[in-house]
Symmetry: C2
Amino acid sequence: MKIEHPYLMFLGDAPDELAAKTAIGIKQWRPEWCVGQLSLPGCKADLGLPEMTIADAKAAGVKTLVLGVANRGGIIGPAWMETILAAIEAGMDVANGLHTRLTTNPELAKAAAAKGVSLFDVRHFDGQVPVGNGEKRSGKRVLAVGTDCSVGKMYTALAIDAEMKKRGMKSDFRATGQTGIFIAGEGISVDAVISDFISGAVETIAPANDEDHWDVVEGQGSLFHASYSGVTMGLIHGSQPDALVVCHEPTRAHMRGLPGYKLVDLKTCMDVNLMHAKLTNPNCVVVGFAINTKALDEAAATKLLADIEAEFGLPAVDPVRTGVASIVDKLQEI
Amino acid sequence: MKIEHPYLMFLGDAPDELAAKTAIGIKQWRPEWCVGQLSLPGCKADLGLPEMTIADAKAAGVKTLVLGVANRGGIIGPAWMETILAAIEAGMDVANGLHTRLTTNPELAKAAAAKGVSLFDVRHFDGQVPVGNGEKRSGKRVLAVGTDCSVGKMYTALAIDAEMKKRGMKSDFRATGQTGIFIAGEGISVDAVISDFISGAVETIAPANDEDHWDVVEGQGSLFHASYSGVTMGLIHGSQPDALVVCHEPTRAHMRGLPGYKLVDLKTCMDVNLMHAKLTNPNCVVVGFAINTKALDEAAATKLLADIEAEFGLPAVDPVRTGVASIVDKLQEI
């Protein structure tokens, strides 16, 4: 799965900004790939990009129409179909972040085949990957883990990759979820892989590389999340990380989607993730903490980060508020 | 997936006993369901059952032809096709333990639809299960975990279920792999489930039950196996076990399929599995050890079990050599 840019961002009839969360993430991390947006009547989301028709986008050199928006009721309505078919007709690929598949829609599949363009259902994985073999690979890898789902693991990984590139280090962000795949232009949604192949999928997307190259692997879920822990476990073993960054959101009342499940403390989270990571990479270390302090004021955030640094003797950052320089400093020592 | 018995055991042209491993397991645990066997020329496996044609089996009341044998090269050859089609024609369901699917074979699918019979590909899972919710369910559950794959987890679970039934306790063996599914007549191959749904699949097959009912859940893989640990993690969280039995094979030189990976020690295995089990069931305890001592002589086996009992203060059994009575004694205290 290799998604070609530039992108035309399809916003459809998104009822609010939240429905366009994926599109917003893509625009934030790859603004240079996003040349325009296409909204339908009633759309309440706005990326601040030029509004374009399919013809405008074609003229601007767009390669892929990106469906980075939640739809209503999980079905692709007539208005959406019209736009998608027009993009196919114009020779664009279509990359889809919905659970609903494009590839199994006969009308779209037929049109795409006729024009020789590709349809990508990035939330799904229909390819073949081997079972994980656990064999040591060359190159270095850092993985974002966390106390819970949606605590900023993707953002942290992207910030580390960007900081590494800024310093002239060799690095690649390795995407394991849908938004990340649009941002990287490739990857595998590991939670969509058959469970026997989770670690094998990660071995595939973060393969052997130059000894001074870093794969910055997007994390998923949490070892302490009763719904998704298996995905996280396979990710840890498959990425055989040299380093872990522990991500956390300090104001969350309970595990995401699981009322009654409290969040694990940072010490336990760090220790247990590290223990499992050492199975496939005995030299793995924790290099720091990435805390999403968005819900805190500046003083509270600063105090929290300082407290965590004092407790663990490791950098504690908020990728948005402080950047990740101190974590990349630690990674450069590895 | 509900596989009706009695079974006719198809042995095909199995090149040796090992190729018929699944069939042998079914015959061992459900002899009363296995009324006959059907071998093709060149078959080197023998279950000791009456040799039957499809017509014989039909007359004997067989409901399902069971393909519990590995085939050569992963394809279903002409001789196999002939037998399978004859079974369908006779109105039997066909349950298949091969990786190769029957359901996607157009000739078989068409014949089955015409006769209104079912084809079961038990190594695959095409159904829908919800994401795990981690909510406390009534009833009790015991899960077999282990240091490695193929150390006797299924055998242990079946022995516990049999011992419980002998004592008049309410119990069900809950199958999570192909051989177990044939033995239970139902279940889900959890390693074939999309990874987001591992724990949800286990919640589905071991649902709420009477407070004095035990689900004896078949384990898979190991938290310490670099290829399959994600499956094991989801199984632990989804089964929310009240009790764990730790399974082990003491003579194994390295993790199955992973040269260079040593086996974990029993203490670490016990502690780490228990720690993760407590996430969804804080009252979980380890009730004992099931050691496959087949490779040891009687004296060595007896000494090993005694040593483990002395070290941990818990029963250590070999389900084959000693039975599992002392483990079920512990379970009855819960």
